[in-house]
Every structure is written in structure tokens, then in C-alpha cells.
């Protein structure tokens, strides 16, 4: 009974379980020599299913904990029996944005980089510079924007899906460059942990973080050498 109440109060619980599982998978890959995280280092193209899996893992690991507010929002704005369905549709819309971006990145950008560590450093620079742009700030502000959702019928489902796409789009605007860094680093745990820290911090201290972004970028370039 107490457990049930906790689940009711925290409808986002299973999205956090998925996030934890994704982190475990990424960590396991990072700690296993020749694991899948190193797939792109040979310069050859990864299989599309692997690309999708990597991006899905990365999205759920890094982003699902950032979605607690919108996930709680879709649950609370839906009829009781539709709460979980609303969350599934919202997350599907959200992940679709990142999967689309992931496929584009891995087919257009990553194969060009070859063995160059400079490419990785370059993505760090782009990410740090992006932190300063008004568009980035706008995306961050809109990350938790709410929208009216229809209560029932197909319109309710479409609204949840559309809301996922909208939040995914805002989130992409805010974080595309950071995710590019992670992809350029071969979905490495050691890129994703600092990137996640940045995403957490910029929510709490958006102004203070921009200065830090430059310092972090400099440090990453040093590490890349």
C-alpha cells in the first residue's frame, strides 16, 4: 500500500528506472574492452540498429532524469487510467527527436571525422560557444514549457505525442551541441558524465554556467591531446 502510494505520487518512477538501466549498460560497455561504445573508433560506419540503440541509451540515461517535471505534468494532466499511456506517448515523441538527430549525426558527421581527436576538441568548442547564444537560452527556458492536453480520445494521445515532440525539440535546441560531443566521443561514459553534469547545473544556475563552459571546454581540449 505504501509502495503503491509512492508510485502514484511519482508517476515518473519507471522512466527513472529506464534511465538507471541505460547508465548501467553504458558503464558496462565502457568497462568492457572492445565494448560497443568503441564502435565508431575504427572509422567504419556502425549498423543503423546500433546507432539507434546508442542514441536511445544516451537519451534515456542523460535526459530522462531531466524530464521529471514534464513527465509528472503529462501524468497529472491525464485521466487516471491514461496516466501511463500518456507518459509512454510523451517519451516516444521526445525520443523520436533525439533518434532523428542521432541518425543524422552518425550518417553525416561522424564518418567524416576519421581518427582525428581534433574533431572531438572542435565539438567541445562548438558546444561551449553554443552555451552563449540566445537560441540556447531560449531552448533551455522552454524545456519545461507546458501545453494544454485534450482529456480523452485520439486527441489526447496525439496531444501527448505532440507535447513530447515539442519538449524534445526545445531540449534539442538547448543540448544538440553537448550531445554531439558525446557522439563524437563514441558515446563514451567519460564524455557523458561531464555533459550530464552540465545539463543538471545549467537548470539550476544558467548564468553562472556559461563561464564554466569555456573553462570546461579548454580542459576537454587538453584531455583530447
Amino acid at each position: 500500500m505504501r509502495w503503491q502510494l509512492a508510485f502514484w505520487r511519482h508517476p515518473e518512477w519507471w522512466s527513472l528506472v529506464l534511465s538507471a538501466a541505460a547508465w548501467l549498460a553504458i558503464a558496462a560497455a565502457a568497462l568492457t574492452p572492445g565494448g560497443h561504445a568503441d564502435h565508431a573508433h575504427g572509422g567504419h560506419e556502425a549498423a543503423p540498429s546500433l546507432v539507434a540503440l546508442n542514441w536511445l541509451n544516451m537519451t534515456s540515461a542523460m535526459m530522462f532524469p531531466m524530464l521529471i517535471a514534464p513527465v509528472r505534468f503529462v501524468a497529472a494532466r491525464s485521466l487516471w487510467r491514461m496516466r501511463n499511456r500518456a507518459i509512454v506517448l510523451f517519451l516516444a515523441g521526445y525520443c523520436a527527436v533525439w533518434l532523428g538527430y542521432g541518425v543524422a549525426v552518425e550518417t553525416l558527421v561522424t564518418p567524416q571525422r576519421g581518427e582525428s581527436r581534433l574533431f572531438l576538441a572542435l565539438t567541445f568548442l562548438v558546444a561551449a560557444a553554443w552555451q552563449w547564444t540566445p537560441l540556447k537560452k531560449s531552448g533551455l527556458r522552454r524545456c519545461h514549457r507546458t501545453a494544454p492536453l485534450a482529456p480523452a480520445g485520439i486527441r489526447a494521445s496525439l496531444d501527448c505525442l505532440r507535447y513530447g515532440l515539442t519538449i524534445g525539440g526545445n531540449c534539442w535546441l538547448s543540448c544538440w551541441a553537448l550531445m554531439l560531443v558525446c557522439a563524437a566521443a563514441g558515446h563514451s561514459l567519460w564524455a557523458m558524465i561531464p555533459a550530464t553534469a552540465v545539463i543538471w547545473m545549467e537548470r539550476a544556475w544558467p548564468n553562472q554556467l556559461r563561464g564554466l563552459a569555456w573553462r570546461l571546454a579548454g580542459r576537454q581540449i587538453e584531455l583530447a591531446r
Binding site: 487516471w80 501545453a147 494544454p148
Partner: protein, 490 residues
């Protein structure tokens, strides 16, 4: 002038002072200090414009902006400007600290001008049922001149460029006529048993929803809606500084006596039965709010330091914190962990204009934890209320008002009011606003307990709120869109 405990300033009732003498020393020294502060450059933290910018600064909306003027550095602006906390449980502590440091700056200006050492901000109790003038401005706020014949800065803003403009207010305000209705000054927020509420709505507390630093996103608390929001809009009218924009609100000297009353209501609420401030660290100590003291030095404060007005840091008391509802028992506080459950909603946006609008939607019985509650509370949720441009006006909300029956014939069906303070800014994605509009929750538990309600459907009627002296058509009031209306059990 003040007779409190040693070292404690007394914040007095502005109408009582005014009835003693329209230019009571507290008001006269306020006016002189305001003039002094208006003469300071915006880069000076103790200047009038800097103090208003703490609430919000948006250059395009600043009626006093001078092109090419020097502003504080961007990092200073990021720390001290556009900080006001709305739709949040930080609404009360933020505004208490904001008022405190403003009061110290004014008091210092009063001292420098040769006034008394114990000047304290007066409060405007517009809900005072014993005062027939309660809903009018005290004359000192609309007189054209001070007793010595100089311009009255409580009415007229003397711009730095030397040109003079009237402070835009509701048409009746500067005529000394009523500006608000009884509904605007209703104090039923004091009957809320809990301070905090869910950030998603479906319930409402006296103080506001549990949030992180929140400029203006989400649901308003009960007192923040009414009388705070309603009186902002009543003073400003459709176009005035205090109503139309967070940026200009603090430029009107009335803003401070209005907020002083809101701060007093927090004290009144705390004295009622078992009411208490939140105990969670998320409210007490996580957020530090930054201001400048009278000497221009930066200071940081947390909510927990602001709970006791007689503590050395604050050092004030109110002349009157008596309960306007003596003998009325506050209902038992709901379970703070209660899960609000939506049982029905509209499925298309509702456009509100100059005439009455009614919507109807299907509702069901709750299926989740609220179904097990012996006496669930029922709330109307008004979500994503936006307006592309102003001026806008407020709406009264009625439930199950029969068609063909005038709202004035069934005041018992009035659920509440949506004041729409700051709606245009909340609809614009910028300066800490995420752009999804305003949100209100209105408790309709007792209203729906009547036999008239068929629990399978609900009718909600929006009635344009007519305030005295306001010509809606004449000022071209614009439409407002309500994203969704829903019903919640919790």
C-alpha cells in the same frame, strides 16, 4: 510617531494615517524619499528604477528607458534584476525581503533629508470592512502637489529628462473613487489550511506551489491570486504600470504599500489556528535571494531568515494583524502528499472577450487515491492562460450558472476570479518566462457539494469583471485564451 518595542518599527495602516492628516509625516517623508530616489541613476542600487528592475527589467517595456543610458553590467543584472518570485512558494519570502531592503533604502533617504530615524513603510488594507474608503487611494497618492507646492512624486513620475508624466493608473484611481469590487479584496485565501501545494495545480495553498527559483511559471497561490493579483490589476486598470507589466509594477509608489499589505496578510494567516510555514529545506534554506542594503552593499537572504518579522534582521511589526474571520474554523489541512486526479477537462482552447463565455465538459468519479478519501477536495484548474498583447482585464469564474440567469443573481455560484496580472509577459518566452501563460486553481469543494450538481458534467462560465470606472471597450481590451479548464479531485 512609533511606539513599539525597543528597536521595532511599526508598519501602520495608510488610511488611518491619512485620516489623521492627508500629509501625515509617514506619507510626506515617503514622497520626499521617492523623489530623492527617482533622482538617482539607474546604475545606483538605491535608485527608484533599480529597485523596480529587481522585480523585472525588460528594456522594451521600460517607459523610462533612455536610449544610450548606462545600465548595470550584465552579470549584475543577472544576479539582482528580474528576480521576483511568482507562482511559487517563494512569493512571500521573496517579496518580504524585497520590501525590507526597499524600506531600509527609503528610511536612509528620509534620514539624509532630515526626517525621523524610524520611518516604516505603511500598508494599504483595501479589505478593511470598517473603512468605507478602503478601496480608494489615500489622497497623498493622487494629489498633484506636496503641501509646499512641489510636484507630488507619489502621483507624478518626474523623468530624468525633465519631462513630466502621470503614472498610468485605473481612471478612478487618481480621482479618489473606488477602483475595486468586493470580489477583488476578498480574503478567503486566509482560510486555506496549508501554505504549499502541488506545482501542477489541482489544489491551492495560501503561499504557492513547491518550486525551485521561479520568476513566473506555473500556478499562483491563493493569496497571490487574490487579493494580490486582483489589486495589482485594479490599481493599474487595463493599461497602468501596476497591472500591465512586471517591469513597470515597482515604478508606482503604490506597489510598495500594496505589497506591504500582502506581507501583513502572511502574518495574519500565520496567526490563524494551526497554520505554519513549510518545514522543508526546499523552502527554508535552498534558495538564496540577493538584494542591496541601504548602503548599496549586496546581501543574500534565505526564507528561514525571514519567518519572524521581529528578528533583528527584519525588526518590524504591523499595527494590526487581527483576524478578519474570528471564530471561523480553518478546515483540516489536506494530506500534503495527496495526489490530485484529473476527472474531466475541455478539449479546445477558450477565447475570452467582452462577453460571457460558457464551456461544458464531461466529468467522472475519481479512480485513484482521491476515490478512497472520505472528503476529497475539488478544484477547478485554469491552465495555460495566454494573451498575445494587452490591455487585458480580469474574469469572474462561475460554476453551473444556469443559462439566462445573470451572474449578479447567483453570487453563490461565483467560484473565484482570474486576475491575469502579468498575462502578456507570461505568454512571451523571455526573461525567465517560459511563455506558457498563467495558471490558477480554484477550490470549488463547497460549491459543488450542492444538490444542483450532476457529477457527470460541469459547466464553467467566464464573466468579464467590471471594475468601477473602467471602460473596457474604450481602452480596447484584447482577448485572452484559456488553454484548458479541468476538474481535479485530491
Amino acid at each position: 510617531m512609533q511606539n513599539g518595542k525597543k528597536g521595532i518599527r511599526i508598519r501602520q495602516d495608510v488610511w488611518k494615517l491619512s485620516n489623521e492628516d492627508p500629509w501625515h509625516p509617514v506619507l510626506l517623508w515617503y514622497a520626499r524619499a521617492v523623489a530623492a530616489m527617482q533622482g538617482r541613476a539607474i546604475t545606483d542600487p538605491t535608485s527608484w528604477r533599480y529597485q523596480a528592475a529587481i522585480h523585472e527589467h525588460f528594456p522594451a517595456n521600460d517607459p523610462l528607458a533612455v536610449s544610450g543610458e548606462t545600465l548595470p553590467s550584465l552579470s549584475e543584472q543577472a544576479t539582482f534584476w528580474t528576480q521576483c518570485q511568482h507562482d511559487s512558494w517563494f512569493f512571500f519570502p521573496f517579496h518580504r525581503a524585497y520590501l525590507l531592503y526597499f524600506e531600509r533604502i527609503v528610511a536612509e533617504a528620509v534620514r539624509q533629508l532630515g526626517g525621523p530615524a524610524d520611518w516604516a513603510l505603511p500598508y494599504w488594507n483595501y479589505s478593511d470592512a470598517t473603512n468605507k474608503d478602503a478601496r480608494r487611494l489615500p489622497p497623498a497618492f493622487y494629489a498633484s502637489t506636496l503641501p509646499d507646492g512641489t510636484t507630488n512624486p507619489l502621483r507624478i513620475y518626474k523623468q530624468t529628462l525633465g519631462t513630466e508624466t502621470d503614472i498610468p493608473r485605473s481612471p478612478n484611481a487618481n480621482k479618489g473613487l473606488d477602483i475595486a469590487t468586493a470580489s477583488d479584496v476578498d480574503l478567503s485565501c486566509l482560510l486555506k489550511p496549508q501554505f504549499a501545494s502541488s506545482s501542477i495545480g489541482g489544489q491551492v495553498g495560501f503561499g504557492g506551489p513547491r518550486t525551485w527559483f521561479n520568476h513566473n511559471n506555473g500556478h499562483a497561490g491563493a493569496c497571490e491570486s487574490r487579493p494580490h493579483g486582483t489589486m495589482h490589476v485594479a490599481v493599474g486598470g487595463p493599461k497602468g504600470w501596476m497591472s500591465s507589466s512586471f517591469t513597470t509594477a515597482g515604478l508606482d509608489p503604490l506597489f510598495w504599500v500594496h505589497h506591504c499589505n500582502i506581507d501583513r496578510l502572511w502574518e495574519v494567516w500565520l496567526r490563524r489556528s494551526a497554520n505554519a510555514n513549510p518545514g522543508e529545506p526546499g523552502w527554508r534554506s535552498i534558495l538564496t535571494m540577493y538584494f542591496h542594503d541601504a548602503d548599496g552593499k549586496a546581501v543574500g537572504v534565505k526564507s528561514e531568515q525571514l519567518a519572524d518579522t521581529t528578528a533583528p534582521l527584519l525588526g518590524y511589526e504591523y499595527e494590526d494583524v487581527s483576524d478578519p474571520f474570528p471564530g471561523v474554523v480553518t478546515p483540516a489541512a489536506p494530506d500534503p502528499g495527496a495526489v490530485p486526479e484529473m476527472v474531466g477537462a475541455t478539449s479546445a482552447p477558450i477565447v475570452l472577450g467582452a462577453s460571457r463565455v460558457t464551456v461544458q465538459f464531461a466529468t467522472t468519479a475519481p479512480l485513484g487515491p482521491a476515490a478512497k478519501s472520505p472528503s476529497p477536495s475539488v478544484h477547478l484548474n485554469l491552465e495555460n492562460i495566454t494573451a498575445a498583447e494587452g490591455p487585458t482585464e480580469s474574469y469572474l469564474v462561475y460554476v453551473n450558472l444556469p443559462a439566462g440567469i445573470g451572474p449578479e443573481d447567483r453570487p453563490d455560484l461565483e467560484a473565484g476570479i482570474i486576475p491575469l496580472f502579468g498575462v502578456v509577459e507570461a505568454s512571451r518566452e523571455d526573461r525567465g518566462h517560459r511563455g506558457d501563460g498563467l495558471h490558477y486553481s480554484i477550490d470549488v469543494t463547497s460549491l459543488l457539494r450542492t444538490a444542483e450538481w450532476n457529477p457527470n458534467s460541469l459547466q464553467v462560465t467566464f464573466v468579464p469583471h467590471e471594475r468601477p470606472g473602467v471602460d473596457r471597450a474604450g481602452v480596447g481590451v484584447k482577448t485572452v485564451t484559456v488553454g484548458r479548464v479541468s476538474l481535479y479531485y485530491s
